[in-house]
């Protein structure tokens, strides 16, 4: 983007009264109804907003009789919120939809994010496979957060780790998407991972 200015260094236009904060983006992913919007709403300083984003679906082989990769662009609702860290820094949380049986290319939403949190419902583990695959392949720091619905988790964390087959470097935590402190702590796990990665 040669014609546009970087968010930090360039001086604001003459007369542009307000200088925007530097936006840092995190992505909250997972299957339908797993608690993404709840988690965003628990910690966001604004009520979660919804907009429509385009995602590219690559139809999985099982659906694809011709065996040719078939890509379609679908418009999906995306919920997001934000947290003002200070006047110069703002954290954005984008909840990205996911679905089983499809590979997704979320680049439109995820590009530039510092990390991801994959929310898991242990009753429907397979709903999160697409998100786990995505973050692994894009090498984006991420953690798996098992949402404890009603304070209960159906499977132990070791079972979840085994079922998802994530590497040892991927934290798997239990959290409650309704609790602000719990969401905060899960996001901190991801951010610490991202920070550790910058330091080699």
């Amino acid at each position: 983007m040669t014609a546009t200015e970087p968010a930090t260094l360039a001086p604001a236009d003459q007369g542009a009264a307000v200088r925007p904060p530097l936006p840092v983006k995190m992505v909250i992913a997972g299957g339908f109804g797993v608690g993404k919007t709840t988690a965003v709403g628990a910690i966001s300083e604004i009520e979660p907003l919804t907009t429509e984003a385009a995602i590219t679906e690559v139809a999985a082989g099982v659906d694809d009789l011709s065996h040719t990769p078939r890509k379609t662009t679908t418009t999906v609702a995306m919920d997001f919120g934000c947290i003002t860290i200070d006047p110069t820094l703002k954290l954005y949380l984008f909840g990205t939809p996911g679905q089983e049986r499809f590979g997704f290319m979320w680049d439109d939403i995820v590009e530039g994010s510092v990390g991801g949190l994959v929310i898991v419902d242990t009753r429907r583990l397979d709903d999160c496979y697409a998100a786990v695959d995505y973050f692994e392949h894009r090498q984006i720091p991420f953690a798996v957060a098992v949402n404890a619905f009603d304070g209960k988790v159906e499977h132990g964390l070791d079972e979840v780790r085994w079922a998802l087959d994530v590497s040892d470097g991927v934290p798997v935590v239990v959290f409650d998407a309704r609790e602000r402190g719990s969401v905060r702590d899960a996001l901190l796990v991801v951010l610490e991972l991202a920070l550790a990665r910058t330091q080699g």
Partner: protein, 138 residues
């Protein structure tokens, strides 16, 4: 906020717009030839020039510049104005080219810098467990 949406809405996206989304962009779907689309968190602010000519702008362009008196992300603009994300991207680029908006595309090297991540971590750590302590936005 000046959000006039009715309280609990069963349809999170709201009513379908009366005009096909890309009519307002004259069919353009990509934000110029400059390459990648603006990230959804890209910050957009109205310029003094943009605010000065506000009354002369057409519907969506008027609404975008007016909403950008305070910095907004592209995603916030789309949500608050109920426009498709890519429509906002196209129009924001137009308005930037016309001098009505300043567009701050985040520099990934900066947002991923350790010092920035530490500030986000420290800021998040300061958030209390309970909702009641910090002032809610509404």
């Amino acid at each position: 906020m000046a959000d006039a949406s009715p309280p609990p809405d069963p349809d999170p996206v709201g009513p379908a717009p009366a005009v096909r989304p890309f009519l307002v962009t004259a069919g353009r779907v990509a934000p110029t030839a400059s390459g990648r689309p603006m990230p959804v968190e890209t910050q957009v602010v109205a310029t003094a020039e943009g605010l000065a000519v506000l009354d002369g702008l057409s519907f969506e362009q008027h609404d975008i510049v007016a909403a950008c008196r305070l910095p907004q992300s592209v995603a916030e603009l789309a949500a608050r104005l109920r426009l498709h994300l890519n429509v906002v991207r196209v129009l924001a680029e137009d308005l930037r080219a016309a001098g009505h908006l300043t567009v701050y595309v985040p520099d990934v090297d900066v947002t991923h810098d350790a010092s920035v991540l530490r500030r986000v971590i420290d800021g998040l750590r300061a958030i209390p467990n309970s909702r009641g302590v910090l002032r809610d936005s509404d």
